[in-house]
């Protein structure tokens, strides 16, 4: 008993001392922190609040809710750039996991079951991908993405037919990889016609008919534009091409699974698909290459003769299976997703176009406009400065490939927009995972910040006073 009590006392005493020690230590820490804080406060008294756009000193304009109270809400921006890439669907990841854990065989190994099981899955994925566009599974060639598919089609077909034909037709609003492939062909001595587009972004079928020569071997027109979401008249273009026996290629990276495409009904001969635009894994895509009537092309990558000899190299079963699952889900949920995206898109457009001096870029006809891509110009504001003021929303003023440069979008230029309008436009992308609360937040945030930036802008002041900006003679420095 006694010894126990002594032990307890010792224990108590020591713990008390420890507590005291901690207290002492923490007190001294607090004082040292306090002095540090005081020093830093006095040193940097005039610094601006970080992360918030601030009006110049002395102005009455304020941006009250530039960012929400960080102690109540998160800080990660809302993702509204689904034209650049989409999040991987959990259902797709679930399909891919088994290929990173158990099914690791090479699908081209035909001597053992490891190869057979992955080959079976690859072929299943191929049929899912073909189903979306009503193609035959044998007509799907796996590539590394839509850029490779576009390169393969645009360089491959003219190179194969170079002895008899040397002319291709494309449009001014194509994606950079199509335009650059065409430029490479020009360097090799081919002739390229770039069709103009009207102010809605659509090509004229008469222009196309006039541009066709007897040396023309390929027409390439993108299905859905990546910047303004305009749907080109694929069926009519396909008919014209088929009647003249010209191959028709379409870049459907933004269209695949999102609008109805039937390669047989639309007479499409080559079609580029990207997996990461349909909630699939990055690093894989496909090219549809028609078999009847057969499209012949010169492959860019040669080797073991996989994929009908058009694209050699071992397939990546995890990516292929993920891509296939993404395509299957796109087809299964197409109606459901389309309705949802349409509803959110209407809400966003209504909210943003209620701001004065805004303009929707793209087609007004719902049949030739994909609702998931909303491109709006905010006059008298620099698009990049609006993006800087919108740190809490992940947006882009155009294609991700060109967003590093401050040059205005060539797509908007092709529509006939002037520099100022092209500079002040922003693209909003709505996808399967965008929520209604996010759209509400975005509408409120943009309304407020456009108002804020315009109040700072002398141009806006002049416009409000009734001065026509075009009459001003700007003096150069």
């Amino acid at each position: 008993m006694l010894s126990r009590q002594i032990l307890r006392n010792i224990a108590r005493g020591s713990s008390a001392r420890r507590v005291g020690g901690v207290r002492l230590l923490s007190q001294s820490k607090i004082t040292s922190f306090a002095t540090n804080a005081a020093e830093s406060n006095s040193g940097a008294n005039a610094t601006v609040v970080i992360g918030n756009a601030q009006a110049p000193d002395g102005s009455a304009i304020t941006l009250k809710t530039a960012s929400r109270d960080e102690s109540l809400f998160g800080t990660r921006p809302i993702y509204l750039d689904v034209q650049a890439t989409t999040p991987t669907d959990p259902r797709v990841l679930d399909k891919m996991m088994e290929f990173y854990t158990g099914l690791y065989g090479n699908p081209h190994s035909s001597t053992h079951s490891y190869g057979w099981e992955t080959e079976k899955e690859v072929e299943k994925a191929r049929s899912y991908i073909a189903d979306v566009i009503n193609a035959d599974p044998k007509e799907i060639i796996f590539t590394s993405g839509a850029t490779e598919s576009n390169n393969m089609s645009i360089k491959g077909v003219p190179r194969f037919y170079k002895k008899t034909k040397n002319h291709i037709i494309t449009t001014q609003t194509e994606h950079k990889c199509v335009l650059d492939s065409a430029r490479h062909l020009q360097d090799e001595g081919y002739e390229v016609t770039y069709l103009p587009v009207n102010e809605e972004g659509l090509i004229s079928l008469d222009d196309l008919k006039k541009a066709i020569r007897k040396e023309t071997c390929l027409v390439s027109v993108m299905a859905v534009n990546n910047e303004i979401g305009v749907i080109q008249p694929l069926k009519e273009i396909g008919q014209i091409c088929r009647s003249k026996k010209i191959f028709f290629h379409t870049d459907a990276a933004q269209a695949y699974g999102k609008i109805d495409i039937d390669v047989n009904e639309m007479n499409i001969d080559l079609l580029s698909i990207s997996s990461h635009k349909i909630y699939g894994p990055k690093g894989i895509g496909a090219c549809y290459v028609r078999r009847r009537p057969r499209v012949r092309l010169d492959p860019i990558i040669t080797g073991g003769g996989q994929e009908r000899g058009l694209r050699s190299g071992t397939l990546a079963p995890p990516l292929v299976a993920g891509f296939g699952e993404a395509a299957r889900i796109m087809k299964q949920d197409m109606k459901y997703d389309q309705e949802y995206i349409h509803r959110l898109s209407e809400k966003l457009k209504k909210g943003l176009l209620s701001i004065p001096s805004t303009q929707l870029n793209g087609s007004l006809d719902p049949a030739s406009q994909y609702p998931g891509c909303v491109n709006i110009s905010f006059a008298y504001i620099e698009g990049e400065s609006l993006l800087m003021a919108l740190k809490d929303i992940a947006l882009s003023s155009g294609s991700a490939c060109t967003s590093a440069s401050l040059e205005p979008s060539y797509v908007l230029h092709a529509l006939g927009a002037d520099d100022a309008l092209a500079h002040s436009s922003i693209r909003f992308g709505i996808g399967r995972f965008t929520t209604e609360a996010e759209i509400d937040y975005v509408v409120a945030a943009i309304q407020e910040r456009v108002d804020f930036l315009r109040k700072m802008s002398p141009l806006w002041e002049m416009v409000q006073e009734g001065i026509d900006l075009n009459t001003i003679e700007w003096s150069g420095h």
């Binding site: 960012s67 929400r68 102690s71 109540l72 809400f73 998160g74 800080t75 990660r76 921006p77 809302i78 993702y79 999040p87 959990p90 259902r91 990841l93 679930d94 996991m97 459901y336 809490d392 399967r432 995972f433 965008t434 929520t435 609360a437 996010e438 937040y441």
Partner: protein, 88 residues
Amino acid sequence: MTTSKQILVLYKQLLEKAYKFDNYNFREFAKRKVTDSFKANKGLSDSEAITNFYNQGILDLAMLTRQTTISQMYTFEKLVVEPLKRQR
């Protein structure tokens, strides 16, 4: 034969799992998808169709269990539209 009680239990279980996604967008999508697909298939009367729907739901439940676990293992900052939980 699938009873209406079994269906109700499955619905509750699916919804419970959907709430477990750490990722805001996936969570909201899963909740919406579960309720909407049960609503859309409310009028199923063919017993074979009901069984198929039920079996698909069981597979989805397994998928949701795996994916919510993964979502909870790899977490990121909360979005600006997401209220943070009160810390005690």
